[in-house]
């Protein structure tokens, strides 16, 4: 439907292919000048270009990125009762794969995980320039989960982070029985998180049968902050980030599988 600012198409308007090639910078040179002139004069095509750009951005925000998806969710194994692990879920440390060495490998992971992603945020999470992402594997399929999405016992979770600046990152979980630190691995005090978008973390979690809300905290600190200080901050009511840290929270209600 045309709006008052979009007069609608004319026979001279660009085709869908021409729009896509224009956005991709692949307009054949012989057509470039004519297309540019048309776009400048045609509100309809200008609106289509803008819409295509916005739609592409929305898709990429929603769909997993290649770097984040270089490997599928690993089959979890028992964590082995680490101190302070009140969580009955099992955790597996994934082998740290060298940074993607080929784009093909990245694409492999992307296509393995790029299944029906959903919008990552619903407004209840702490906003900022760093955030946590989570993917859920169920019945062999993987999808991106949003805050508030229902999960089921036996689901496997995989986490990513997005940060615009280098920070120290820790990831914690609270299943109602106490805090568990999932990242960095036990024995490590801090973990550096380099800037990146949807960078995968090296652990997966298989959810146990206890129902309730699983809460996950991503704590991004620019100065180094001890684990004890972060724990203390998260145990406040409500949980809050330590000074000079950002906090992102994901809550996943765990309900019986249908």
């Amino acid at each position: 439907m045309s709006t008052s600012s979009d007069p609608g198409p004319t026979p001279a308007c660009l085709s869908a292919l021409a729009i896509d090639e224009w956005n991709a910078g692949e307009t054949p040179s012989a057509m470039r000048a004519a297309h540019a002139a048309h776009i400048e004069d045609c509100a309809h095509c200008a609106a289509r270009l803008a819409a295509a750009t916005a739609e592409a951005e929305a898709f990429l925000q929603d769909a997993p990125t290649l770097a984040a998806l270089r490997e599928g969710l690993a089959r979890p194994t028992p964590r082995g009762g680490a101190p302070g692990d009140h969580h009955a879920a099992t955790v597996r440390r994934l082998p740290r794969i060298a940074a993607v060495t080929t784009a093909g490998l990245a694409l492999a992971a992307a296509v393995m995980l790029m299944v029906r992603p959903r919008l990552p945020e619903d407004g209840t999470r702490t906003k900022g320039s760093a955030r946590l992402g989570v993917y859920v594997k169920r019945d062999g399929r993987v999808k991106r989960a949003a805050n508030g999405d229902v999960v089921h016992p036996g689901d496997t979770l995989r986490f990513t982070y997005t940060s615009q600046a280098p920070r120290h990152l820790s990831v914690w979980g609270d299943d109602g029985q106490g805090l568990t630190r999932y990242h960095p691995a036990p024995g490590a005090e801090v973990a550096q998180a380099e800037p990146g978008r949807d960078v995968p973390l090296d652990f997966g979690i298989e959810l146990d049968g206890a129902l309730g809300t699983e809460v996950f905290y991503g704590v991004f600190c620019q100065p180094r902050v001890t684990a004890d200080a972060i724990r203390a901050a998260l145990e406040r009511t409500p949980p809050s980030p330590p000074r000079d840290c950002l906090l992102d929270v994901i809550r996943l209600p765990k309900e019986p599988a249908p």
């Binding site: 292919l17 991709a24 769909a63 029906r116």
Partner: protein
Amino acid sequence: MSLHAEGPAGVCTPHTVNMAAPDLDDFYRRYAPVAYRRARHLLGNEDDARELVHDVFASLLDRPEQFRGKSSLTTFMYSAVTHACLNRLRNQRNRARLLQQGMPEERESPQVRSAEALASLRSLLARMPEDLATVAIYYHGEGLTHDDIARILECSPRHVGNLVARVRHFIERQEAQP
């Protein structure tokens, strides 16, 4: 260099331009949104479209040589998505479901006069020879010009015109059947 190379029998043939395989990561970010939009448009279903994008990029991963010899990655992606959509439409179960669901609301093509016409076209696609179905998608489904289609199929606009005429003839024959 001509983008409209044509074989001796008038069939569509690939160009001879060699383009190095692109960085697949970048390729995904640049072209997956386009693939998704077209798949959603052609299939009329977001979930099917996402699965199709998955399949297309998985195929590219398996056979990256598909990139080579292409003059435009956009036209290459058009071709790959169209082929995948046709395969999906030919799937009996999906075809039946799509027909039951009706048509997507969004239509841009000036050639397409009504949703009913497109619904009929979609039901016909699964029965058309592949070369005709491909052209029908571009021409009737997306409103591309003969020149556009020729660039995607890597043949001459004249040959596209012949295919469009054959599509029309095919549709007329189908409609004439009781």
